[in-house]
């Protein structure tokens, strides 16, 4: 749970910064959130999924 939220937060925020930098209108924020969610799920599986 914590992993998922922090994954989306961290990479969503980095994506948002890239958005601001390159003027991408939220594209990088979306990609970043997805990457973060995927990373969070991966960490959860790694740590709790045996």
């Amino acid at each position: 749970m914590g992993y998922l939220i922090s994954g989306i937060l961290v990479w969503g925020f980095i994506g948002w910064l890239i958005d601001r930098w390159l003027g991408l209108d939220g594209l990088a924020t979306g990609i970043g959130s997805l990457v973060g969610a995927a990373g969070g799920v991966y960490l959860i599986l790694r740590r709790f999924g045996g």
Partner: protein, 251 residues
Amino acid sequence: MVLADELPFPPSVEDFHLVPAWVSKFTVLVWIAVALIIIFFLVLYRNPKLVPTRGQWLAESFYGFVRDRVAGDLIGHEGLRFAPYLATLFSFILLTNLFGIVPGIQISTNTHIAFTAMLAVISYVLFVAVGIRKFGFWHYWKKSLFLPAPLAVQPILIPIEFVSTFVVRPLTLAIRLFANMFAGHVILLVFTLGGFVLLNSSAWFLKPISVLSWVMAIALTFLEALVILLQAYVFVVLTASYVQGALVEDH
């Protein structure tokens, strides 16, 4: 009706300030809570007997519950030395939470985020310090940030690990307790004061509904009792599991 006229409405921040400006209701309540806990354990454990009296049994089973069920089961054998802190934390949060439904007090200090934030900071410093003391500074960081994973995805995972362990944990610890107690307090306030507002309304058909509002307030007080116990327990269990996470050897 008379009661409703005396009631300060709407409630404001000024209600919390007592006679000297620097003493608020919360300050006094925390003093009372600390004093009560000290007196409770000192008096009941002043003269311990092999065959415990009822009071001694109460104090012992409270401490024993935290030591065995929380510290022992969650952290393991190493966790027993944290039992005094966890028991103190549990009794303090439980008592200050309980103030929220004690008639005449009816506000918990944990409805103020400063108190829950301070408790979260203590737990945070505790689990980081425990980890650093056991593994050394660099090993502890390496242990908590690196999971066995392909090298290519490590740059993605390490920031997530960092934020989830060192940023989200203390924040959620503080906000969970604060938000639960604050929401409970507001709900009780809304239904109690709402009853008075309905009773004083000019439309006659709204007046009987005030009874329903007060019945709801009483029912929700029982719900609050459950939340109080649960949130105190959750805070302590999470602190214990964070300490366990800092102490665990390897994944």
